[in-house]
């Protein structure tokens, strides 16, 4: 088996695993990073969102082989940052999280959006989060949460 090297949450790691494994399973079963969730396993729901080289990707559709040489950030990695603190507080203030199964993925998608567009309009937030399904909130409180994060985190993104 080939060695696959990548940077995971700031640390260089090397794994010797089947390169056809889904990145999602490697993160959850091998690294025990269970903050990345599986909702559908086919790239529809976004619960498994991680950032690869700063862009949001569904880890259920991403083969391990493609991770070679990449920078991968999961919710566990993001959770150590100031930006995460702002997002978390904003999701609290605006009620953006209910059952929580989509929340880590939503926050990853929000991080990706804000890093590209620090002052998104409502419409831009809707587009930015359109790959992440939520069955609890009806989305409006999530949209407001991201808007609030952009406001509270002025200058961070």
């Amino acid at each position: 088996m080939n060695k696959i090297q990548f940077n995971l949450n700031g640390q260089d790691v090397t794994v010797e695993l089947d390169p056809s494994l889904r990145l999602l399973d490697v993160l959850r079963d091998y690294f025990h990073l269970t903050g990345t969730k599986e909702g559908c396993g086919e790239g529809e729901c976004g619960a498994c969102s991680v950032l690869i080289n700063g862009r949001v990707v569904n880890s259920c559709c991403f083969p391990l082989a493609n991770a070679n040489g990449k920078k991968i950030l999961t919710i566990e990695g993001l959770a150590t940052t100031k930006r995460y603190q702002i997002l978390k507080d904003a999701f609290h203030i605006e009620g953006g999280s209910q059952c929580g199964i989509c929340t880590p993925g939503m926050i990853m998608a929000a991080e990706s959006l804000l890093s590209m567009n620090p002052h998104p309009s409502d419409e831009e937030i809707r587009i930015g989060l359109s790959g992440n399904l939520c069955r609890c909130t009806g989305y409006n409180m999530i949209i407001k949460s991201v808007k609030k994060a952009a406001e509270l985190g002025e200058g961070l993104w």
Binding site: L33, G35, E42, Y84, L87, Q98, G100, I101, R135
Partner: protein
């Protein structure tokens, strides 16, 4: 002094954002095995032969021969097997589990298992009734004779899939020889405990159920998890190792319970003053292969027959039909969304047929305090509907838009639904079946612990109930602890269903807290147990479906505005406005969260979410072809919460969760009618159906 309306931080907010909250699939045990279900590939028939390849070491088959005691899943009837013995009744019926350490090897074994069937003739039409119910009010026959007009219509509703983002899953292990523990995604820890006790024949203290974080449920995790629990418990008793079974999305969508498809026929008897003096109603529910909770769902559908209207004479009947399709079951609203859709459309259609203004026509039938309910109970509490309807019309500019959009070739529409939802179990269910108990324990440090099995599946039950106790004790929130439910610690406070958690369990908790407060001994261990007692005013006859069907009703008005593409007939939501009476708002942000999410599902039920079967095979099996709303589909929403405290609710609170769902489908369907100027009798009102309505005139 506490303000119940004020929002507090959700106690699980941090762990849910950071991904540290443990859902069942996040829990790992040493030496743990995985299980996957081998299912029927045919619709109906006999199993003639099962070929199982030689199993590698540490791999096992678990089937009906391993069931320790009872091979049925305890719900209401004894018809739903844990594992089928030799017949199959729907595609996906569980035959056996394959258990082992490696999921890929399990898949290989399953691919080699060959089952030979003898096909039998399946039933898909609503012809085989297994439960029939009926009730009357007043004298329908007399009303029919007095009537000058009679109008009859039929309405149809389709499947709806709960589509919680966390698929179903369970983990079970032996704590010690002869004691089993189950951890899983669920709404009703004691349903699971009782089902496992029944199938294993274990004593009560040898089955323990623990609820971890639950990633959405919406009714889908009410009775169905009991089936997984019974299968897994059987496997664990045989293999004596921890076993985890997590459904993949496709499996979850194909085999778990859904909202009942229904056919509803309504016939109105109308007098010379355009007053509906009689209504005859018949409901048919498609239960799929097993009854499950369907007879209870049927009751709620029938009881909702007059919605927020008073009609003096009723003749109501309904049936649960068995078909060779996936079993249907609990889903937010529990039968009532089907009926509320039908009656709301019908009242509007009647007005149009009579040539009168629908708004005025409906207002002239609106229920008032003191009126008789559909089952001749009494609406005792103040009803604010008139005021709520006026408010909803104002904030949405309803009247002006209705006129504008009624003009030809304007593909815009606005619709308004009025509705109620009975809170808690139907009739005397709370006192005869559930008998809720709650337990409060205060330790020597004066920290108060809640021991109840109310499940937080996202609605915020843990935060809200903890808060209710803190308010009643007049102590800080931080001095109260409500951990995830564990049946070894918590008595049966009832299932987390039927919009009962805040109103019933919350009320019991305030009573327990008041007792604790009255007898508070600083620095001492104290314990209070409080049991549900039915308010004296409730009179209910279950055999005749007569009397007070619910201790209280929540009320609502929804307005939905749409724009329809004249080319593709796709519906775009433009605006949503709601007014609700949930008694007293406890934690406003959380109630708004329920309101937003409920109506999103309700509207999607009306126009977007399409699931059908073809000869017993579901055509939609994942989130690619079963479409639920995304952030791009939902417009901004405005919600007003009324203040109308209920005597037997904590701080006056009534039910919230289901109320916010039931008005969505009729509101969007009425908006579509307004836009296309044709009657809608079927949901979901898909572009294909809209095209059919426009072209077939």
């Amino acid at each position: 002094m506490f303000d119940p309306k004020k929002s507090t931080p959700k106690i699980d907010h941090e762990e849910k954002c950071s991904g540290q909250a443990k859902y069942v699939s996040d829990i790992y045990f040493d030496n743990m095995l995985f299980a996957k279900t081998v299912r029927s590939s045919i619709v109906k028939g006999k199993i003639l032969d099962i070929f199982v390849p030689e199993l590698p070491e540490d791999y096992y088959i678990v089937d009906h021969r391993d069931v320790v005691k009872e091979n049925y899943v305890k719900m209401v009837f004894k018809d739903w097997p844990v594992f089928t013995v030799d017949t199959v009744n729907y595609i996906g019926e569980p035959i056996m589990l394959v258990v082992g350490p490696d999921k890929q090897v399990i898949d290989e074994i399953i691919s080699q298992i060959k089952i030979t069937y003898q096909d039998e003739e399946p039933i898909f039409d609503l012809v085989k009734s297994v439960a029939h119910k009926s009730f009357t009010k007043g004298n329908f026959k007399e009303a029919s004779e007095k009537a000058v007009r009679s109008i009859k219509e039929t309405f149809q509703t389709g499947y709806q899939e709960q589509a919680y983002i966390e698929p179903q899953g369970m983990l079970a292990y032996l704590e010690e020889e002869g004691k089993i523990t189950l951890i899983g995604s669920m709404q009703c820890p004691y349903y699971i405990k009782n089902a496992v006790i029944n199938t294993l024949g274990y004593p009560e203290d040898k089955v323990r159920v623990i609820q971890p974080a639950v990633g959405g449920a919406f009714g889908g995790k009410e009775e169905f998890p009991s089936t997984i629990a019974c299968q897994l418990a059987t496997a664990v008793v045989k293999i004596k190792r921890p076993i985890k079974m997590i459904f993949e999305r496709e499996e979850d969508m194909l085999v778990t319970t859904k909202r009942h498809p229904s056919t509803i026929t309504l016939e109105a008897k109308i007098d010379e003053n355009n007053k509906v003096i009689g209504l005859k109603a018949n409901v048919g529910l498609d239960a799929g292969a097993y009854i499950g909770l369907s007879a209870v769902v049927l009751s709620r559908a029938m009881l909702a027959v007059t919605d927020a209207y008073t009609i003096a004479n009723l003749d109501v009947s309904g049936d649960v039909f068995i078909t060779n399709t996936v079993p249907t079951g609990a889903f937010r609203g529990f039968g009532s969304p089907q009926m509320i859709f039908a009656i709301e459309m019908f009242m509007n259609h009647l007005a149009k047929d009579l040539g009168v203004d629908p708004y005025t026509f409906r207002l002239s039938h609106l229920v008032k305090q003191g009126d008789l309910t559909s089952t001749s109970g009494i609406f005792r509490d103040p009803i604010l509907m008139k005021d709520m309807i006026t408010k909803a019309a104002e904030i949405s500019d309803y009247h002006h838009k209705t006129q504008e959009y009624a003009k030809p070739n304007v593909y815009k529409g606005i619709g308004m639904s009025w509705f109620l939802h009975g809170c808690g179990f139907t009739g005397d269910g709370e006192s005869t079946h559930i008998k809720s108990r709650v337990r409060l324990v205060k330790d020597e440090k004066d920290v108060v612990y809640l021991y109840i099995v109310a499940v937080d599946m996202g609605q915020g039950a843990r935060t809200a109930l903890k808060r209710v106790v803190a308010m009643a004790l007049d102590i800080p929130n931080e001095q109260v602890v409500f951990d995830y439910p564990d049946t070894d610690e918590a008595p049966d406070s009832g299932p987390t269903v039927a919009s009962r958690t805040m109103m019933i369990v919350g009320h019991l908790l305030t009573k327990a807290a008041q007792k604790l407060k009255a007898n508070w001994k600083k620095g001492q261990h104290q314990e209070v147990i409080e049991q549900y007692q039915q308010p004296d005013y409730i009179n209910w006859d279950e055999s005749k479906l007569q009397g007070d069907a619910y201790p209280a009703y929540s009320w609502g008005v929804n307005v939905v505005e749409v724009e329809i593409s004249p080319v593709t007939y796709e519906v775009q939501l433009v605006g949503i406005w709601s007014v609700y009476d949930v008694g007293k708002t406890i934690d406003e942000r959380m109630v708004i969260g329920q309101a937003d999410g409920g109506i999103t599902q309700g509207i999607a039920y009306g126009y977007l979410e399409n699931m059908r079967h073809e000869k017993g095979k579901l055509r939609q099996k994942n989130l690619t072809d079963y479409i639920i709303p995304t952030s791009m589909d939902m417009p901004p929403m405005e919600t007003i919460l009324m203040d109308n405290p209920f005597l037997y609710g904590p701080y006056g609170a009534k039910g919230v969760g289901e109320l916010t769902f039931v008005g969505g489908a009729p509101a969007v369907a009425l908006a579509i009618e307004n836009a296309i100027k044709r009657k809608v009798n079927r949901i979901p009102a898909t572009p294909e159906y809209i095209m059919e309505l426009i072209n077939n005139e």
